[in-house]
C-alpha cells in the first residue's frame, strides 16, 4: 500500500463512520468480556436491527476502556457519554436516550480523575478503535509512522529519533531504547531479528495483554519500524499462551497487515522486507528474561545463559537480535509520528513519556491507566484509582511483581520514575500496581512471592534453585509462628547470597519482596516470631505452632 491509497482508504472509512448519527462503543477486551461485554454488544446489535436503525446507529467492539471495575463499559459517541456495568437489560433504555439526555443511573462522570488525569500514548486508540479493523487503525493515523520511516528516513535517522525521545524499556529493566537499537543496528550479522517480548509474566500485570487486545496493529507497526531501523527482516512475537484473545487478535491483525502490504516484501514500494511470526509461551515466567526467551523461541527449555554476550550481538541462532517489550514497541509509532522531542517533553528528566499501570488489589478503580512519568503514587492511587474501598487504610503498594517490592505509605508523595522506585527498594517493573490495605500480612505477601520464584526457578543455577526453596521454607516457618531470630538471620543472609550470585534476573531480584518488606515492616516479622501473632490476622496459628488455616498454601 502506498501513501495515496492509504489516505483514500482512511477518507472513505471515516466518511462511513461519520454517516452514523451515533456510535456505540462496547469494550471487548478480556476484562469486560468476562463480565458479559459480548452479550451487551450483541444485545445492542439485535435491538438496533429490530428498530430498523442500522443505518443510523453503529455498534463497535473496541479495545480496553481502562476502568475494568465498572465493566462491561460502553461509550456512546459523538457525545462521549460513558456508561459502566451495562447489562443487556439496559440496552433498550440507552438507545432510547440517544437523542435526549443520558441514562443517569448508568452513566459515569467523564470528568472524573480516572479519565481526565490520564495522558494516553500507547493507549491512545484503546476504547476508540476496533482492534479487529485495520481501517480504524488507519483512520487513527496508524502506519503513518512506518511509512514516514521507510520512505523519508534512513535507518540511522530512525534510531536517532528514538534516542532523542529518551524512551526506556518498559518491560522492567528501563534500558534506553535508542541505545539498544543502535547497538543492534551496528552489530555484524548476515541476518537480524526483532523480537517483541509479550510474555507478561508478572502476576498482577495485564498492560501488555490489554495493548495487544486493544490495538494489535500498533505492535506490528512498532516492530516494523524497529526492524527497518536495525536492519532486520524477520520478527517474532513471544506471547503467553494464557492470553487466547490477544493471540486471536494479533493473528488477525498480522493477516490484515500482510494483505494491505505493511508486512511482506517490498513494503510500500520500498526495498524493505519484514515478516512476523507468533511464538507461544508455555507457562514459564523465566522466559521473560531475554536469553531464556530466545531459548524458548528456538524450541528449547527456557533456561537463561550468562550475559555477555548480549542478544544485541549474539541472539536468536547466534544472530543480532533486538528484544523489546510490548509497551516499548507501542510507543514507537507515536514517536515516529509526533517526533522524539514531543515524547521527551512528557515526563521527567530521567524518565520520559508515559507509563501504563495496571491497578489491582484493594483499590476502587481497578483497571488500566496511562499517566505521565513523574506523577506521584498518591495521585495514581487516590485520585485516579479512587482510593481504598470500604474506607480501609492504605498499607503498601506492590510494584514490579516478584522482582519488585512493597512501598509503604511514607513514600506516597514520591514521583513515579525509574530512579525513585529503585531508591525505595522496588522497581518500575512492567507496571503492575497492587494496592494492599490493613487486611494484608506483609510476611504472607513475601512468602507468596517467594513461592512464585521457587516454582518459577528454571533450576539451572544453584543459588536460585536451592536458595529460593530455603527462603520459602523460612517464610513458611515465620507465618506458622515457628521461627526464631536465627531463622530471620539466615533469611537475610540468603537474600544477599541469591541476589548476588544468581545467573539471571529472576534469581537476582527474587529477594526484593523479602528485602523491602523487611525494610519497612520488620515489626510484622518480629510479631510473628516473638509474639506468635499476625498483626493483619491473616496467618492463624495456635500457640503450639500448628497451622489451622490460612498460611498453608
Amino acid at each position: 500500500m502506498i501513501p495515496d491509497e492509504l489516505n483514500e482508504m482512511a477518507e472513505e472509512h471515516s466518511q462511513k463512520q461519520n454517516s452514523f448519527a451515533h456510535r456505540i462503543h462496547v469494550c471487548a477486551a478480556a476484562g469486560c468480556r468476562s463480565s458479559g461485554g459480548e452479550k451487551v454488544a450483541s444485545a445492542f446489535e439485535d435491538e438496533i436491527k429490530e428498530r430498523g436503525q442500522t443505518e443510523k446507529i453503529a455498534v463497535k467492539r473496541t479495545g480496553c476502556m481502562g476502568l475494568c471495575a465498572e465493566g462491561p463499559m460502553v461509550i456512546v459517541y459523538p457525545d462521549e457519554t460513558i456508561y459502566g456495568k451495562v447489562s443487556p437489560a439496559d440496552v433498550a433504555e440507552i438507545i432510547d436516550s440517544l437523542d435526549g439526555s443520558p441514562v443517569e443511573r448508568l452513566s459515569l462522570d467523564s470528568e472524573m480523575p480516572f479519565f481526565s488525569e490520564q495522558t494516553q500514548v500507547v493507549l491512545e486508540n484503546a476504547g476508540r478503535t476496533e482492534p479487529e479493523s485495520l481501517e480504524d487503525y488507519i483512520v487513527a493515523e496508524g502506519y503513518s509512522g512506518l511509512i514516514t520511516a521507510i520512505t523519508e528516513m534512513t535507518p540511522d535517522e530512525v534510531v536517532n529519533e528514538m534516542t532523542k525521545s529518551g524512551l526506556r524499556g518498559r518491560g522492567g529493566g528501563g534500558f534506553p531504547t535508542g541505545l539498544k537499537w543502535s547497538t543492534v543496528a551496528k552489530a555484524d550479522g548476515d541476518k537480524k531479528y526483532v523480537v517483541c517480548n509479550a510474555d507478561e509474566g508478572d502476576p498482577g500485570a495485564f498492560m501488555d495483554r490489554s495493548v495487544l487486545e486493544s490495538d494489535p496493529h500498533r505492535i506490528i507497526e512498532g516492530m516494523a519500524i524497529a526492524a527497518y531501523a536495525v536492519g532486520a527482516d524477520h520478527g517474532y512475537v513471544y506471547l503467553r499462551a494464557e492470553y487466547p484473545l490477544a493471540i486471536e487478535r494479533l493473528k488477525k491483525a498480522i493477516r490484515q497487515a500482510k494483505r494491505a502490504g505493511f508486512l511482506g516484501t517490498e513494503i510500500c514500494d520500498t526495498q524493505f522486507d519484514f515478516s512476523i511470526e507468533i511464538r507461544l509461551g508455555a507457562g514459564a515466567f523465566v522466559c521473560g528474561e531475554e536469553t531464556a526467551l530466545m531459548a524458548s523461541i528456538e524450541g528449547r527449555r527456557g533456561q537463561p545463559r550468562p550475559r555477555p554476550p548480549y542478544p544485541a550481538n549474539y541472539g536468536l541462532w547466534g544472530f543480532p537480535t533486538l528484544i523489546n517489550n510490548v509497551e516499548t514497541l507501542g510507543n514507537v509509532p507515536t514517536i515516529l509520528r509526533k517526533g522524539g522531542e514531543w515524547f521527551a517533553s512528557i515526563g521527567t528528566d530521567d524518565s520520559k513519556g508515559t507509563k501504563v499501570f495496571a491497578l489491582a488489589g484493594r483499590i476502587v478503580n481497578t483497571g488500566l491507566v496511562e499517566v505521565p512519568m513523574g506523577i506521584t503514587l498518591r495521585e495514581i492511587i487516590f485520585d485516579i484509582g479512587g482510593g481504598i474501598p470500604g474506607g480501609g487504610n492504605f498499607k503498601a503498594l506492590q510494584t514490579g511483581g516478584p522482582s519488585g517490592g512493597c512501598i509503604p505509605a511514607q513514600y506516597l508523595d514520591m514521583p513515579v520514575d525509574y530512579g525513585s522506585l529503585a531508591k525505595v527498594g522496588s522497581i518500575m517493573g512492567s507496571g503492575g500496581m497492587i494496592v494492599m490495605d490493613d487486611s494484608s500480612c506483609m510476611v504472607d505477601v513475601a512468602k507468596y512471592f517467594m513461592d512464585f520464584c521457587r516454582t518459577e526457578s528454571c533450576g539451572k543455577c544453584i543459588p536460585c534453585r536451592a536458595g529460593t526453596p530455603q527462603m520459602h521454607k523460612i517464610l513458611t516457618k515465620i507465618t506458622n509462628g515457628e521461627a526464631t531470630h536465627r531463622d530471620l538471620d539466615i533469611l537475610k543472609d540468603l537474600c544477599d547470597l541469591v541476589e548476588n550470585t544468581s545467573l539471571c534476573g529472576l534469581g537476582q531480584t527474587s529477594a526484593n519482596p523479602v528485602k523491602s518488606t523487611l525494610k519497612y515492616f520488620e515489626e510484622e516479622y518480629i510479631a510473628h516470631i516473638e509474639q506468635g501473632e499476625c498483626p493483619a490476622g491473616v496467618c492463624k496459628f495456635k500457640r503450639t505452632g500448628e497451622v489451622i488455616n490460612g498460611c498453608s498454601s
Binding site: G31, C68, A284, I434
Partner: protein
Amino acid sequence: MPLKKTQPPSDDKRWKLINAAMRRHGYHRSALIEVLHAVQDAFGFLEDEALEYVADNLTLPPSMVYGVATFYHFFTLKPKGEHACVICTGTACYIKGAGDIIDEIQDKFGVGPGETSQDGKFSLLTARCVGACSLAPAVVYDGEVAGHQTPEDVIKTIQEWFGNDT
C-alpha cells in the same frame, strides 16, 4: 524432505493436525514448542507416544523433547478431566482470597491443585495470572473467565458439572 517421516502411532484423525503443524514449520527443530501446543490442543495432554512421534519427525533426541515438555507448566503429561477449573493465583487474586477458594475445593471435593477428580469429571488447576486482575479473584471455567468469584460460586459451578451428567 530429506528424511522419511514416520507414520503416526494410530489412524486417529487428529494426527493430521499435528502433521500440519510440523509441516507449517518445515519440520524445523525450533518448532518443538509450537508442535507440542498443537498436540495438547488436539489430544488434551501430551502422551508418551505423541512425544516420541514428534521427536522422530523433528529429528530431536527423545530426552530433549521430554525435557521441554516437562519444563513448561502449560503442558501436561496426564489426561485432564472433562471440565477444567483454573484458579488464578496472581497477586491480586491471591490477596483477594484465591487461596481460600483452593482450600474450599480441596475440602469439598478432595481435589488439590493439579489433580483430577477420581471419576475424571474435573481437574483443578492453578494459573500464575490470567491477566484479569481487575476482576480478582478470577476463575477460568472451561476457558471462560469469570470475575469476583467466591468459594461458594466455584463450588456451585463444579457441582453443576457433576449434576449435569448424572
